[in-house]
Assembly symmetry: C2
């Protein structure tokens, strides 16, 4: 018999009529497939492992390395189960707050993502020309697509609009800094309002999100860009603002003394003192607010806003989680109002896992409708790294609880009946798929972390009972009535 | 004051230090941002709507159309909530069966996805050269990446391995046929075993998946490629097999008489009769099996396998959902064993929403380890269309249950306290973000489908009570003690 071509190679020609792609639509699909893909069809009898083996040996001289591009990752079951569990927990928080899910395409027009003139300097964007000659790019964040989405669907969704979006984004960054080129973000925003209530809502949501993931000692630090800008303007430091901000941003790393020295070098010792005074966190938010008023003047809207937020947090009895910290400067080129970052008390060096702020106008590139808003973003990869370090990860493995052992080919229906009975009782169960040595089957259970096994062989079949085995204690429970199996399994799983 | 550049345009220069991208890592991030992005920083005072308005008017001469490429879609909240709900239900079925989640990169090396020689004819694949000169492509299905994944992680995951994967894939197909270029698939496979038990497991999983989504009258039709090939070989029709298969595939559309005519034209009237005899579904699976044995010979392994599966389905008491239908021919160039498709009784024309089959060797392009397996794929877009037609969609909107109305700026903390109290009781609640006319706030609730509203104004503040309003019946419940609010809301939500 003529050997068959290997399936994946054929699949690589994108036949329309296999299980992929909405599934087969009938004859129409066949018309696309190259006829050559069918020439071997009739030479194919029943499959036989030996015959396939021959073919493989012949074909396998030129194996392709199963590698993936740098900065990209496979998620193995344990990690992927954890990621799904995190997103699900966040989703349930968002739902409690009335935030709605949306999704947008991975590919957008480059013009939409990068602006009309933009693009030539955007080396980090995965951008290309598609078959139709369209200049397209993969999204590099969830905010620009959200802006485009709002401009396109304003009437349909209405204002104010609260959305969350958990999805992958791509940036061809330098991976030497430990960054991924494919990573996941979880964004949540309220748009269509300038209100302090929306600022507060995002702060609450950040707090609830981190708490829902089991984080214990964290703080959310907030400030207001308006106050900082007013401070710099008063000192006549407009022209040196970038240097000043960079220096402040490094403070946590280099310490206060070094920061004073650097600031004095930029702005002179007096201004340095005033800046350090400005960014210092006082004993209470009220004291910090008084200080800010003194330094930048009472009438600044930013101070009033910070005051509103601080007293609402107080009223809610959760002020302890929040720190009014004027040194927070994030989003230099983006935020216009309140800004915030989260810090994990047990992992001070990991940086912020959830940050955001208020912006003046989300979608001015695409619509005349002004869309002020406030939002935050969770960097899921950093968050997962943090949870791993804190021992909060790994509890969400999707393994089965029971393995039904396969002892006899004639009992295949019974094995699946046993598994279905367990599943109906809410217990995840799987059948070992074929007759193999029991040591093999037990080794499989151990590798997968499956704690219980069911034995049903000739002896059990004769007696009409099943045997349940606790693979941890190695104890066996023989002579169980099939109806009692789920209950007993549940007891042992407790 | 010099107007500020609009935020999104600046964002399009990919600054490292806004909320995206793992969040800010401190000074290191700033080093990447182009200095020009900061020059306007100190000119920015507190934000002001009027001032922003001016700027906008100036900038907005050149609005970018917020359009997306053909074949791509935005998912608005209702649809996205439904999609999330479907995937979550499927996930819970997969977990009960011990199937594990994985994820793979959206971008892979083109060589990996398309094979070493492949590629030049793959007009449907989004393929490009990245900044590092790598020849990469976006995945066009979840099976080729799974094959690569298995070759790369065989030791880590062990065999047999059961996985599910719900993710987007991309194909630059002709959209005139109502197809999307970005769409979602949900795949599940058992690899590392040739067993009938694994075939059965995938059939069970298909059944449970459709049932979990509320599907009522569906059938899963199965056949075996080996039996069909043996039939064609006996008739000496190897050379005409493609035509024969296409003709059979059209049978559901053109009817039996036309099919006989076409087959006779290809193979002569006698062979046509035998083929029609072969593909006919008999009264019972047993009768169909006897017929197949008679037509292709007893010893064919395919018949034994079909017989094993049929009797296990019988034993499980679910044979009524399944039809042994020898006319199922899907996956011509891919499957080697059992094949199956699902049909919705109430939507005969929509085609299969979940299909699959057994393959001999998943990953022979990448590894010498033979990996036989069996799996299926759900086309989520067709499934969602089907659910919509069947009235099974739309029950999963993520809207809030209660809107806390905003009556007084000084009560902002109280409004959020009320909302937090409802959330703590498991009731999704949101605060209208600012003081606006009540008609506005009620219109918002109506648009979002929020059924209840809480009023807390000067009167309630004085009395220490809250008012709950049923927006459907328009009844008001005044004088409620705050502690009684969640209970009363829950009653009304029932």
């Amino acid at each position: 018999m003529v050997p068959l071509p290997d399936a994946p190679y054929l699949k690589s020609k994108l036949p329309q009529c296999y299980r992929g792609r909405d599934n087969c639509q009938g004859a129409a699909d066949l018309d696309i497939s190259p006829p050559s893909a069918f020439t071997w069809l009739v030479q194919k009898g029943d499959k036989s492992a030996e015959h396939r083996g021959d073919k493989s040996a012949e074909h396998r001289g030129e194996l392709i390395q199963p590698r993936i591009p740098k900065g990209f990752r496979d998620f193995l079951p344990e990690k992927e189960a954890e990621r799904l569990s995190i997103v699900r927990k966040l989703q349930s928080v968002f739902e409690r707050f009335g935030f709605l899910p949306i999704d947008t395409p991975v590919l957008e027009f480059a013009e939409v993502l990068l602006g009309k003139g933009g693009g030539e300097t955007d080396k980090e964007v995965y951008r290309f020309t598609d078959h139709g000659g369209r200049d397209v790019a993969m999204r590099f964040d969830l905010t620009v697509p959200f802006a485009r989405f709002m401009a396109a669907h304003l009437e349909e969704v209405g204002l104010p609009f609260r959305r969350w979006h958990a999805a992958k984004v791509w940036r061809g960054e330098n991976t030497q800094r430990g960054r991924y080129r494919e990573f996941m973000q979880v964004d949540f925003d309220v748009v269509g309002t300038d209100s302090a209530s929306a600022d507060l809502e995002i702060l609450l949501l950040m707090r609830e999100s981190l708490a829902a993931l089991g984080m214990k000692s964290f703080t959310i630090r907030y400030a207001h860009r308006g106050a900082f800008n007013a401070c710099l303007a008063r000192l006549g430091l407009e022209a040196r603002s970038v240097e000043v901000l960079r220096t402040i941003d490094k403070q946590r790393k280099v310490g206060a003394e070094k920061t004073r020295e650097l600031l004095a070098g930029i702005a002179g010792p007096a201004a340095a003192s005033e800046i350090l005074e400005f960014i210092r966190v006082e004993e209470t938010p009220a004291a910090t607010l008084r200080k800010l008023s003194r330094l930048v003047g009472d009438g600044v809207e930013a101070i009033a806003r910070l005051s509103q937020v601080a007293s609402a947090l107080d009223r809610l009895g959760i002020a302890g989680t929040f720190v009014l910290d004027p040194s927070i400067t994030r989003g230099l080129d983006y935020y216009t109002g309140i800004v915030f970052e989260s810090f994990l008390g047990d992992l001070p060096d990991i940086g912020s896992v959830c940050s955001g702020g208020r912006y003046n106008d989300l979608a001015s590139l695409y619509t005349k409708q002004r869309l002020p808003g406030v939002g935050a973003s969770i960097g899921l990869d950093r968050l997962m790294a943090a949870m791993e370090e804190l021992g909060l990860a790994g509890g969400s493995s999707a393994r089965s609880s029971v393995l039904v052992l396969f002892l006899d080919d004639s009992l295949i229906g019974v094995y699946h009946e046993i598994a279905q009975g367990l599943r109906a009782a809410g217990i995840a169960a799987e059948v070992y798929p074929e007759k193999k040595k029991l040591t093999h089957q037990f080794a499989y259970a151990e590798k997968k972390g499956i704690p219980l096994a069911v034995l049903y062989g000739a002896q059990e079949a004769a007696a009409g009972t099943v045997t349940l085995k606790d693979l941890t204690s190695r104890e066996s429970y023989e002579g169980l009535a099939p109806a009692d199996l789920p209950g007993r399994a549940r007891e042992l799983l407790r």
